[in-house]
Amino acid sequence: MDLSILYQLKNKKVWWLDTVFYFFIALLLATIFCFLIFYFKISLQEKTMKDLDEKIASIGTAQQKELEKQVAVYQRKIDNFATLLTNHKIPTNVLRLFEEITLPNVWFNTFSLSSQAASIQLAGEAESTTALTRQVSIFDGSVFIKEIIGLSSETAETGRIKFSLTLAINPDIFFQATPEVLPGGIIDTTSPSTSAAFNNYIF
């Protein structure tokens, strides 16, 4: 390192050397002052941090935590209950629908409902082929019956038409407050739940 310039400056009287010298002294003092300021501020902040930590730790008292636990339990129970209630099926809606749409000259002797599969297996008898055809077309027209599967029929000894079929039903029926009654055209249907129907061998 070439320090000769410093020796040259020492022997010469340069007007700005004093200014620079005192400026650096001031700068040194300023640096020390800054250090002290930061040191002081840091110690203050550390105290503030400690206070905040203590405040945070004191927030959740045993009582508050117990309340929190109870609220969480109730919240979970309410959520689960709401989910179950939303999915709560009302299978009697299907029976009410059948009471509405079954013709008086059609009888069912086997009824098997699966709400999981949303299907009904039916077997029964109709007074005539016309009655059976009409009943099937009513099933077909119902908004709650999606599909008629595997319809088979045969003439019984009594002259009536024995039939069996599977209905794929619209799951919405399980969640309706009251099932929608079929629009017009079945004025002459009699609910099988009426005494007349029960005197026959439907259900």
Binding site: M49, V71, T92
Partner: protein, 183 residues
């Protein structure tokens, strides 16, 4: 003693000292100060958040306590433990009220309803004997019960009148499967 300061050298030394102090002492302290400021900001936000959270929890608890009847109903609908005895008793009682005979009840193993829930479902197979109106009454009473009972499947058959038996059966066996829920 004439003590003269070598100003050029002193200035150079001062420059070096100031630089060393600035970069190795003051700057790290400044960074520490800035870091602490950020940390305090975070802690204050955490404090405010926790405080607001517990205020909210307390008010939610107070509000919940206003609906104690509804909460009791929820507890009944979804009990903490599946107790078979009261359930079976309930089914027999409802059968009696509806005019249907409960002949047999079998409980199958309970299983969890889903992955993210601790609700369990238990399936019960019930063999009934009765008429259609009684079945409708029985099912309706289960649907309306305070305990969530899901009528899953049911089936029944009637023997049609034949040449040997002209009478229509008014009562017949009915098989019903239901689901109940608990924790």
């Amino acid at each position: 003693m004439n003590l003269r300061i070598n100003k050029p050298i002193s200035t150079a030394v001062l420059l070096i000292v100031v630089l060393v102090l600035a970069f190795y002492v003051v700057l790290p302290k400044y960074q520490q100060f800035q870091g602490l400021l950020t940390e305090i900001g975070k802690k204050e936000a955490e404090f405010q958040g926790k405080n607001a959270y517990f205020i909210e929890v307390t008010s939610a608890y107070r509000e919940l306590m206003l609906y104690q009847d509804a909460l009791k109903k929820i507890d009944t609908a979804l009990p903490d433990k599946l107790s078979i005895a009261p359930l079976v008793d309930f089914l027999y009682q409802k059968g009696l009220e509806s005019g249907i005979i409960v002949r047999r009840i079998s409980v199958s193993k309970s299983s969890s309803v889903g992955v993210d829930t601790n609700v369990k479902e238990a399936s019960l197979n019930i063999e009934l004997f009765g008429s259609y109106p009684a079945l409708v009454r029985f099912l309706a009473s289960l649907e309306k019960s305070s305990r969530i009972i899901e009528g899953d499947n049911f089936s029944f058959s009637v023997t049609p009148p034949s040449s040997t038996s002209f009478m229509t059966e008014l009562t017949y066996p009915i098989s019903l499967s239901i689901k109940v829920y608990s924790y």
